[in-house]
Symmetry: C2
Subunit: 489 residues, 2 copies
């Protein structure tokens, strides 16, 4: 692809469809659903067939920035484009276009959702290259359509018209109509017609054309993007982040399909034939995995005794055991803090369960996969993890693991007693004016109000025991995100 072409991976996502495995803190794109890599990692790997890593960008929420970089160590950290909040795909891609244009006004964007599965990667790469070439001409918003193989009611459809051009063996077709998720009967007609394609959510266009068309069809969004772009051009620091946050939060949540593609005349579609699945719900596992002779899909440590046609997802890598006995047609998902047992046929309507949990004040089970075992709670953090092994009236005890290269900044103003016992790793402990090297066996009791900071050279593990004070504990948990910040571009 030419040097102006960049791949933009959209890695937003609410983390609801694969609950309880996915959470708000760990949405679908970060999950390993098939094989050893996450959907995001697979998407990144496919992107590298098209462009080098320096020209791959990932748009994701601020809170998933570290997780993204951890899963994609080859991705330049500056290529993570942080979204302050979720506003659907039109603002997401508008922001990406603005960031890309700040680096290269002639940029062409190839857009890939992070959470889809693709098979037939040669064809995939060929189709995307064709799309990028058409897009680079600057005339079209190019969409990729997939020949439907079943009357799926969960997807959007694109009806194609005449051939506009041929590129690299691919037909580029005019678009006659977009249809959002159809009814079952309509989906059957679409499948039979031969001129309807699934809207894959993969696109290619010049950033300049995209922004011009946004200005035409979504002028409010375009104006906000101008202000964001101006702040970024001025200085990509805290001032920019402030503008980004303010403008982005004010955007209407709207999809690029509904907001732009269905309205603009400049849209074409390339009918593609590689294997594609948007993995929209748990039942998709039956398409991407090979069920056993009784129709069961087993993941993790799961044992089926006389069970049929079930999806059984045990906790992977843990020691929990999932056993199904004499049951049929169930979806069972076990995690560190939630087990879901559902009628498999209802896996697409999981939202009802999540709504019920919200009604019951159990929303925390949507946020994080927090582990609590008779007092020992394991919380994954961007910088490592905390094991809360005791929270009592008199003290809070935690084991804190800080990964190499990260630092932890905290101030415990009102704590009456705090003891740190270092077990492993090297680095620096700052205590007010003093600095101590971290080493195995270092044990420090910290007077109330002393500022202290742990910086890990190699992975550091220490025990922390402190008087419980809610305010302090909250500050500790938040410390990293605030200290490091998140930046776009």
């Amino acid at each position: 692809m030419d040097l102006h072409t960049a791949v933009v991976i959209m890695a937003g996502g609410a983390g609801e469809r694969f609950w309880p495995r996915s959470r708000r803190s760990f949405p679908k794109q970060f999950l390993r659903l098939s094989g050893s890599r996450s959907l995001l990692q697979e998407t990144f790997r496919r992107a590298l067939r098209l462009v080098p890593a320096e020209r791959v960008y990932v748009v994701t929420s601020f809170r998933h920035r570290d997780l993204t970089l951890r899963q994609l160590p080859e991705l330049p950290p500056g290529n993570v484009i942080g979204e302050p909040c979720g506003r659907d795909t039109a603002p997401c891609l508008g922001l990406a276009a603005a960031v890309l244009q700040a680096r290269d006004p002639e940029a062409t964007m190839v857009v890939l959702p992070a959470d889809h599965l693709v098979s037939g990667e040669e064809r995939f790469a060929s189709a995307l290259e064709a799309a990028a070439r058409v897009a680079a001409g600057g005339r079209w918003l190019v969409t990729l359509g997939i020949a439907p193989t079943r009357p799926e009611t969960g997807y959007g459809y694109i009806q194609f018209g005449r051939t506009v051009e041929r590129v690299g063996g691919w037909e580029v077709r005019a678009v006659r109509r977009f249809t959002e998720k159809p009814a079952a009967e309509q989906a059957l007609r679409f499948l039979a017609s031969g001129d309807y394609l699934w809207n894959s959510g993969m696109f290619a266009w010049k950033a300049s054309l995209f922004r011009r068309l946004l200005a035409e069809h979504l002028p409010g969004l375009a104006a906000g993007l101008e202000r964001i772009a101006a702040a970024l051009a001025a200085a990509p620091g805290p001032a920019y982040l402030e503008v980004l946050q303010r403008e982005y939060e004010a955007f209407e949540a709207i999809s690029v399909d509904y907001g732009l593609l269905e309205r603009a005349g400049e849209v074409v579609v390339i009918p593609a034939d590689f294997g594609w699945d948007d993995v929209g719900s748990w039942s998709a596992l039956e398409r991407v995995a090979v069920p056993d002779e009784r129709g069961n899909v087993l993941r993790g440590q799961a044992v089926a005794v006389d069970a049929r046609d079930c999806i059984l997802c045990g906790v992977e890598g843990g020691s929990r055991l999932l056993v199904a006995y004499g049951v049929t047609g169930l979806l069972v998902v076990d995690t560190e803090d939630v087990v879901l047992v559902a009628d498999k046929a209802r896996s697409a309507t999981l939202k009802q369960v999540l709504d019920e949990l919200r009604r019951r004040g159990l929303e925390r089970y949507l946020d994080d996969e927090a582990v609590s075992v008779r007092g020992a709670r394991v919380v994954e953090k961007p910088w490592g993890r905390e094991v809360w092994w005791a929270v009592t009236d008199r003290y809070v005890g935690k084991i804190i693991e800080v990964r190499s290269g990260h630092r932890l900044s905290l101030q415990l103003h009102r704590a009456k007693l705090e003891t740190l016992l270092f077990q492993r790793g090297t680095g620096t402990l700052t205590l007010g004016e003093r600095t101590l090297p971290i080493e195995e066996g270092l044990c420090v009791t910290i007077p109330p109000g002393t500022v202290h900071r742990v910086e890990a050279e190699s992975d550091v593990v220490f025990l922390e025991v402190s008087t419980p004070e809610t305010g302090d504990v909250v500050r500790l948990a938040d410390a990293y995100g605030r200290a490091e910040g998140d930046a776009a571009g």
Copy 2:
């Protein structure tokens, strides 16, 4: 009851029927299935309606001795009769008879299984008092029969005959026939006949009569019991334990019903009318609990969304959440390390699942409810618990909780580094020749080879970090059991 009467609670049990809640290390009788007390605690409470705590005995396996005493703090420790292994009810009650006669040759035993539910406790106490009075005459083995309320195929039945005597308003009837678990049709006939009773497993007899009849019908068992009794009379120490172990292991496993009651002529039955349930499988929960309007029985933190006729047992007291969505007729049991999803109708045949797990080398899930969460493993101990939060090449980190009144004795001969950080509680730390008071914040690094001992006055919590050495770690885990030992009588 007269001063010769003692209650013997049989608290053996393999821990299989309520798997995965029950385990070999934590059988059914220790479970809280209804209300806030375990079945054993409820049985003990009922026993106290009949005799004072000094005359209540509990027969249980050596390994459950500490658990028994923890659940029954009022029980004199000397009243736990330890079984070296499980040999069914005839050897169990033979041993109890021998131990009771060593204290009182005229003893009358009232036998109560530890794992049944009873309602109507006035009637219960009245019937057992009548049984004890009849038994004290020394002529009869008295059984308690329950008027059946359904054609249960899981129980044994007793057909009664003519009235032998009347005691305290109760008829004492001759026994015509014992029938083990009948077929469904036979059970229906028994229910209709009016002269069949459920064999409740509750008995009363003079220990001397029981042993005389054992000698007649199970002479091998009786002879072994003589040798055990002789060793106990000589000295109730290690020599006795050695004899007990050798003799007991050689006993044939046989039930008192099959081995004696069905053969002896000296058996009567008191038809009783209180509420009784042997809680033989998970589905018994539907009889002992009140299902919600959709027929669901919910325990722990469980949420049913559009679910019907399910038994949903979440982990109690933990933070795990169990969610059932759109399912019917399921038994779901969540624990710290296993989740079972079964057809409720198959809850009585759980053994098939356990056999399958044994075949697959997953027997450890039958033994202990061990908790392992990404490195943090919680192990319940007789003296408290250990949270293993890290096992690495370089160190083992544990949080050790020692309950008040217990002590922990350990020697880590070859450890290179061991640090203890005390967080809570009071007591004494012995280090070689020195003794230190335990207090919050005490941090001690122990040189290799130094004998140390922790004695807890109040509950003590401390962190222990040591160089991993398998031998040492094993010794630590075993330390308590060896120090205290287990003794019968």
